[in-house]
Amino acid sequence: MATMSDYIGLKPAWCPGCGNFGILRALNKALVELGVEPHQVLFVSGIGQAGKLPHYTRGNIFNSLHGRPVPPAIGAKIANSELIVIAISGDGDGYGEGGNHFLHAARRNHDITYLVHNNQVYGLTKGQASPTSDVGFVTKTTPEGAVSPVYPIALAIACGASFVGRSFAGDLAHLTNLIKKGITHRGFSLIDILQPCVSFNHKNTFQWYGERVYKLDDESGYDPSDKKQRWTRRSNGEIGFPSVSSMRRTCRSMRTICPR
């Protein structure tokens, strides 16, 4: 049985206090709790601070191009359906450069889990606005403030993603649980993870999130499988309030082939 020590990888090169540490811990914990051995999992990441995550855990790793973790993840999953395939992106990687892949992976419902570390800013290139930056967010590339952001939850639902969830890097238990649900879900699962960037985003801080995050799961009467209810929830993103939801729908079966 794998333990947390089986998932110790290289020493992270992230900034001290980075939200990525919480995500890394939750991911490792989810795999251990699901009884997954490192050789059974494939991490496919893009470029950015999130893209480095696979090197800091253990497993099979395909660290791919900027914006492109989803297509190789799909290719690998089709090639070997036994693999647990986890694609890892940031908001720039996943919703900017790789936006088209995201739409179509959701639509086609490939059986991969997609973690998007959403800190609403570019970290690796040092502080430019991202597709999810709040309106008016001033950076070196948006001196007059960022324009309307992408709403990944609404977008994923609109594209027919069969599992859409959002969690917070500062809530280990909730995030671990959601990642476990995403991995066990048969079909495409998006897990958008709200994450502070301690170096470049001085607006959406741990404290800022701490005051606003609430758990949709705790709301009485919310049924994530109810299309109408979950669709009205798309406004959550628009008013800048993070929401946490998870929803299921039967996934289409993909034909798979085994390596020769």
């Binding site: 090197h55 099979n60 999953k77 892949h101």
Partner: protein, 571 residues
């Protein structure tokens, strides 16, 4: 019959030009003849002017001829546009109503009620093209039963086949009774079962025979039919074809599938290949074997979407930034497309790099008779693979530095070995690194693979009298045309020979330099505007060719075109 006989079917898109051309090809192949057929079509779904040429010959032919012996004109434009190409003693068959637009008949024009016969005898105007096909066969007094057999094989027994047979018979009989005079005759030879394949079909069949299990692509002329073929065969051969959202996704999916252990390919053209450039380097640095098919068409940008060119040679050699090894095969013949596919997958696996197959619209959509393919000659070489017998899987390093540069591959999930790779520069284990020594070691290791790879590359093909003082140098789909030009020039007393390349990278510098040194005049024959092969020869051998015969109007090179051009150069 003469040495060869040329049919042309002309009409608007949507009139069934392609169907008649395809059936004519099958019918003569079934009668023991060789055929070569090409298609000329516009980028539109309905209207315009398309034509399909079928060359019928007792001997194997690899190019199209320029003259037309029988023109099946499904519209009046076809006669107007192709009158000049009609040879002596040729004939055009045209619909009665439409002939008026052409003007009065001379002996070469036979008008008959194609559309009316289709309606009366087969119950549908949609059968007009089949009526014309029947008439065309009657014009050379060919055996109609062969067409009936082909129709049943193609459509299956039933109402649709019956109606087509009735339509063909109506056309055949009307021609027989209405045409006065004695036109030419083509008698069926002994029955030989030869396949009729186009370049893309032969390529796809080769990929399947090579064990390709995954294809991802985005439709683009002239590569789309490879996707369609693979998709159609996916259940039968247990493979997956993903119609991706774009070419970027297509190549990245293929890389992911190959990393996970299956043979994977993609296919595209022009601008689609431009979008794939990023993924080529991903395959290069992660040492992932993939096969990339580029169906060349005239560029830049959208260019001439449905036409042909050899304009991507230097592009595929240099696409992407940085240095990494690659192999480039180019398709010379339809039969060769099968074997090139098999070789491409073997090279990709053995040397863990992207392998390009360059074809073009002309070869992709041209049909030829293909003699049986000996499947027992297909070998599958997967290259160096890691097994748990080789050592403790916990010590496995995907990018281990070896003398040959080849690191044994393991596949994720199939053993306890963790397969780690990165599009960042990485260390032997596959983890990203910025260390100067590791970087140098990995770049050198990757490039070292070129040494054994070079030894696998096939030599250029030679044809014609070796003592000739003039050499025609070509590459790719011009093979058949140049070869035939060598014969035509020889008959006219101009001795030339040919050097033809179908495996261009790593470049066969030795044999090419040797040929240029020995011959008095050397001419590259290319379908592009700048002589890309001549530039490559200069770069790799330091030799200049005497001249460049270039054509870049989007139409294929013909033996006659080459012959005329060489006669002007060599007196």
């Amino acid at each position: 019959m003469p040495d060869d006989f040329n049919f042309m079917i002309g009409g608007a898109a949507g009139q069934g030009v392609q169907t008649v051309g395809f059936l004519l090809s099958k019918v003569f192949a079934r009668g023991g003849y060789h055929i070569f057929a090409d298609q000329d079509y516009e980028s539109r779904v309905r209207g315009g002017h398309n034509f399909f040429r079928v060359r019928v010959s007792k001997d194997k032919v690899g190019a199209i001829a320029e003259g037309v012996d029988v023109l099946i004109a499904l519209d009046s434009d076809s006669v107007e546009l192709h009158r000049a190409e009609m040879a002596e003693r040729s004939m055009a068959i045209i619909d009665e109503g439409k002939a008026k637009a052409v003007g009065s008949e001379d002996g070469s024009l036979f008008s008959m009620p194609l559309e009316k016969l289709a309606q009366d005898k087969a119950g549908s105007k949609l059968m007009t093209n089949t009526v014309a096909l029947g008439a065309a066969l009657a014009s050379v007094r060919y055996d109609l039963n062969i067409l009936n057999t082909v129709l049943v094989d193609w459509l299956g027994k039933g109402d649709i086949a019956d109606k087509n047979i009735a339509a063909a018979r109506a056309g055949y009989e009307h021609f027989q009774s209405g045409h006065k005079g004695n036109f030419r005759e083509i008698k069926p030879l002994a029955e030989t079962r030869r396949m009729v394949l186009n370049g893309n079909e032969a390529l796809a069949v080769g990929a399947i025979a090579a064990g390709c299990k995954f294809m991802s692509a985005y439709p683009m002329t002239p590569a789309s039919s490879i996707m369609e073929y693979m998709a159609a065969k996916s259940k039968e051969y247990d493979l997956v074809m993903v119609h991706a959202e774009d070419e970027i996704a297509a190549i990245n999916m293929a890389v992911g599938a190959a990393y996970a252990g299956v043979r994977a390919m993609t296919a595209t053209s022009g601008s689609g290949l431009c979008l794939m450039v990023e993924g080529m380097g991903l395959a290069g640095i992660t040492e992932t074997p993939i096969v990339i098919v580029d169906g060349q068409r005239p560029g830049p940008a959208v260019g001439l979407p449905t036409r042909t060119e050899q304009g991507d040679l230097l592009f595929v050699l240099h696409a992407h930034h940085g240095d990494f090894p690659r192999a480039v095969l180019v398709l010379a013949t339809i039969e060769g497309a099968f074997w090139a596919a098999v070789k491409a997958f073997n090279l990709a696996d053995k040397y863990q790099l992207p392998v390009f197959i360059l074809t073009d619209q002309h070869l992709a959509s041209s049909y030829s008779t293909v003699d049986g393919i000996d499947l027992s000659r297909v070998t599958i070489e997967r290259g160096a693979l890691f097994s748990e017998n080789d050592g403790d899987p916990s010590g496995y390093m995907r990018h281990r530095v070896t003398e040959s540069g080849i690191s044994p591959r393991a596949f994720p999930g199939l053993s306890k070995a963790l397969v780690v790779t990165d599009c960042d520069e990485h260390d032997e284990k596959g983890h990203l690194t910025e260390d100067a020594r590791e970087r140098t070691a990995q770049v050198e290791k990757r490039l070292r693979k070129t040494v054994p790879l070079r030894k696998e590359m096939g030599m250029p093909q030679r044809y014609g009298p070796q003592e000739a003082e003039t050499t025609l140098i070509g590459w790719g789909s011009t093979y058949g045309a140049i070869r035939e030009a060598v014969d035509m020039l020889g008959k006219d007393g101009v001795a030339v020979n040919m050097l033809h390349l179908d495996e261009v990278w790593p470049f066969p510098a030795g044999p090419v330099a040797d040929t240029i040194n020995k011959t008095r005049n050397s001419y590259v024959i290319e379908s592009n505007a700048t002589g890309q092969l001549a530039r490559l020869i200069k770069a790799e051998t330091g030799r200049d060719v005497t001249g460049r015969i270039l054509k870049f109007d989007g139409r294929p090179l013909t033996p006659a075109y080459i012959t005329r051009a060489i006669k002007k150069e060599v007196r």
